[in-house]
């Protein structure tokens, strides 16, 4: 009886979560994989049909070789993932190290730095759309200092548009900084004091003592930054809608599946499969980078120790 009650309790308490998981993750991901091999578009919305075995990869072939924006989107999304790891994380770490100093007013500045992360990325995108506006924004006047004949909209120029979009989100690392700062604060004071006795202080102490101690957190936030860069959608929508070479993978999925009047569900799901797999590769790569670079760092530190 008792055992039965226990089983019922477990079942009832798990059920809502399992239903939610099934509905929002399991069923969709299975559909995405299956229909990525289906002929399925606005002409047969109710009944996707699996391509015959000879044509099974039709959607993939179309996406890889015919769809005009696919490679542009891959290049952009992968670049944003890369910038997440190699730009956002170093910046966030530097900010966290700065905030870990004990100075007057530092808490206030730290709290202010997080404010933009409280606003939706839709709103931030909208604000930057105004900042980049050539007639009343403040970026064009800045460019004019160096190039007085510049009258274009930066968001319409292929090349600059990509970097303008990047600039609209990449500096807002408040929440990442906070996570790193949390880990820095957790380092026992004794270790810092020991480092001080060895003559290591300030940024030299940070580099040799603090960074190696927070590598677990750095790896986690690197994965998060890479993923969110890789999945960028809102910025693309609000700033350019994909113009001037700024498509992202998320953007073309939605374009193919929903926005286009000639919606192509099968092909959208093909891109989705590619997104899932590439995302996993990126996560594995970030983990790999951390494995290697920190092993190197440790080795160097060990060598230094031997010399001393």
């Amino acid at each position: 009886m008792q055992k039965m009650k226990r089983s019922i309790f477990i079942f009832v308490f798990l059920l809502p979560t399992i239903v939610a998981f099934g509905m929002f993750y399991l069923y969709p991901i299975l559909t995405v994989f299956y229909t990525s091999f289906c002929q399925w578009d606005y002409t047969n919305i109710a009944n996707p049909t699996l391509w015959s075995s000879a044509e099974l990869l039709n959607n993939y072939k179309y996406i890889f070789s015919t769809y005009p924006y696919f490679w542009e989107a891959v290049r952009n999304s992968v670049t944003w993932a890369f910038l997440g790891v190699f730009f956002q994380i170093p910046v966030a770490t530097l900010m966290a190290l700065g905030f870990s100093r004990k100075m007057k007013g530092i808490k206030l500045i730290r709290n202010i730095y997080i404010v933009p992360c409280m606003i939706s990325s839709a709103a931030v995108g909208m604000i930057f759309l105004q900042i980049y506006n050539p007639t009343y924004g403040f970026i064009n006047p800045l460019i004019k200092i160096f190039n007085s004949s510049f009258n274009d909209s930066i968001l319409l120029l292929e090349g600059p548009a990509f970097w303008a979009m990047t600039g609209a989100y990449i500096f807002f690392t408040g929440t990442t900084t906070l996570l790193i700062l949390g880990n820095i604060m957790a380092i026992p004071e004794e270790i810092r004091e020991a480092a001080l006795l060895d003559g290591s202080s300030g940024f030299s102490q940070d580099w040799h003592i603090v960074i190696p101690m927070i590598k677990g957190t750095l790896r986690t936030v690197s994965v998060l930054a890479a993923t969110s860069g890789f999945l960028l959608y809102n910025e693309v929508y609000f700033l350019t809608k994909g113009a001037a070479g700024t498509y992202s993978i998320s953007y073309i999925i939605r374009e193919l599946a929903v926005n286009s009047p000639r919606a192509q569900y099968g092909r959208a799901n093909t891109v989705a499969v590619i997104q899932v797999i590439t995302g996993l590769i990126i996560i594995a790569a970030v983990n790999g980078i951390y494995g290697i670079s920190f092993a190197d760092l440790r080795r160097k530190l060990a060598k230094k120790g031997e010399k001393a």
Partner: protein
């Protein structure tokens, strides 16, 4: 107290310079866009005084019409309703399942944990069409119910780990005592564990609320009727709605970003602890 002072003195001039540089950068990044937005919202005609030129006088017409003509309060209400209901549902759901997984051994426990963990690596955008399709089939397209369903089901992993982590730190003796006193499983959870875990559950709730309040992707996909939009989706209509009325545009944007900023200023201590996983004191 003395210790604090000595740490500052030990920073060399070079280190102190770099630290000031970092702090200055933090202020520039956070404040320049927002100050510019605020400044522009006071200008009668932002076209006539572009960039950081100060407004000639403080013009508040845009703010008045944001409330009177745009009915911005309606959209705040929509966002609040959708966010609160979905957060309550998901937090209750997760605090139930996380409890079972944290405390009980059963067949399939590892599988459920792995499934929840895997949601962290499944990009929501990849699931766009199946979810959109599902919402349509359930006749929830263009309803707040559809959006609540999506929000309640998404973001499982973060809430799960925050709450489970909290349960793991509660000593089991309390539950054993409750059971000896005759509480059944449900009563033990409801009367003993749930109240103790409230801070952890609150943290998960605050994070989920912030996410849902700011969420744009699903909101713009599922709800299309203007009166039902949430705040982020409303922003997408601005470019056409305010075509040449820039003062109105800037004022409306200021009003829209204000609630999360005010909330953050009032409860910054709480937000900072929640966002840093409790490690940074606010």
């Amino acid at each position: 107290m003395k210790k604090k002072k000595s740490t500052v003195k030990l920073l060399s001039a070079k280190d102190r310079f770099f630290t000031y540089l970092i702090l200055a950068w933090a202020l520039i990044v956070a404040l320049v866009p927002l100050v510019w937005l605020l400044l522009s919202s006071f200008k009668v005609d932002p076209l006539a005084r572009p960039g950081f030129m100060l407004p000639e006088s403080i013009y508040l017409q845009g703010y008045i019409s944001t409330f009177r003509d745009l009915h911005v309060m309606r959209y705040f209400k929509n966002s609040l309703f959708v966010s609160v209901v979905s957060v309550v549902i998901s937090v209750i759901m997760i605090s139930m399942s996380a409890y079972v997984i944290a405390r009980m051994e059963f067949f399939g426990r590892k599988l459920v944990t792995a499934a929840l963990y895997s949601t962290m690596f499944l990009p929501a955008t990849a699931l766009t069409f199946p979810v959109y399709n599902l919402i349509n089939k359930l006749h929830l397209y263009n309803t707040h119910g559809g959006l609540i369903l999506v929000y309640a089901c998404s973001g499982l992993a973060v809430s799960f780990f925050v709450i489970k982590n909290y349960y793991d730190n509660i000593p089991r003796e309390l539950e054993e005592a409750a059971q000896i006193d005759g509480c059944n499983y449900f009563q033990t959870w409801f009367h003993v564990v749930f109240p103790i875990a409230r801070p952890g559950i609150m943290t998960a709730g605050v994070l989920a609320f912030l996410n849902n309040w700011n969420e744009y992707y699903w909101s713009s996909l599922i709800v299309i009727q203007k009166e039902k939009l949430t705040v982020p989706a409303l922003l997408a209509t601005f470019s056409t709605a305010f075509r040449t009325n820039y003062n109105g545009l800037f004022s409306a944007m200021v009003v829209i970003i204000l609630p999360p900023i005010v909330l953050y200023c009032v409860f910054s201590k709480f937000f900072i602890e929640a966002l840093s996983g409790g490690a940074v004191k606010g």
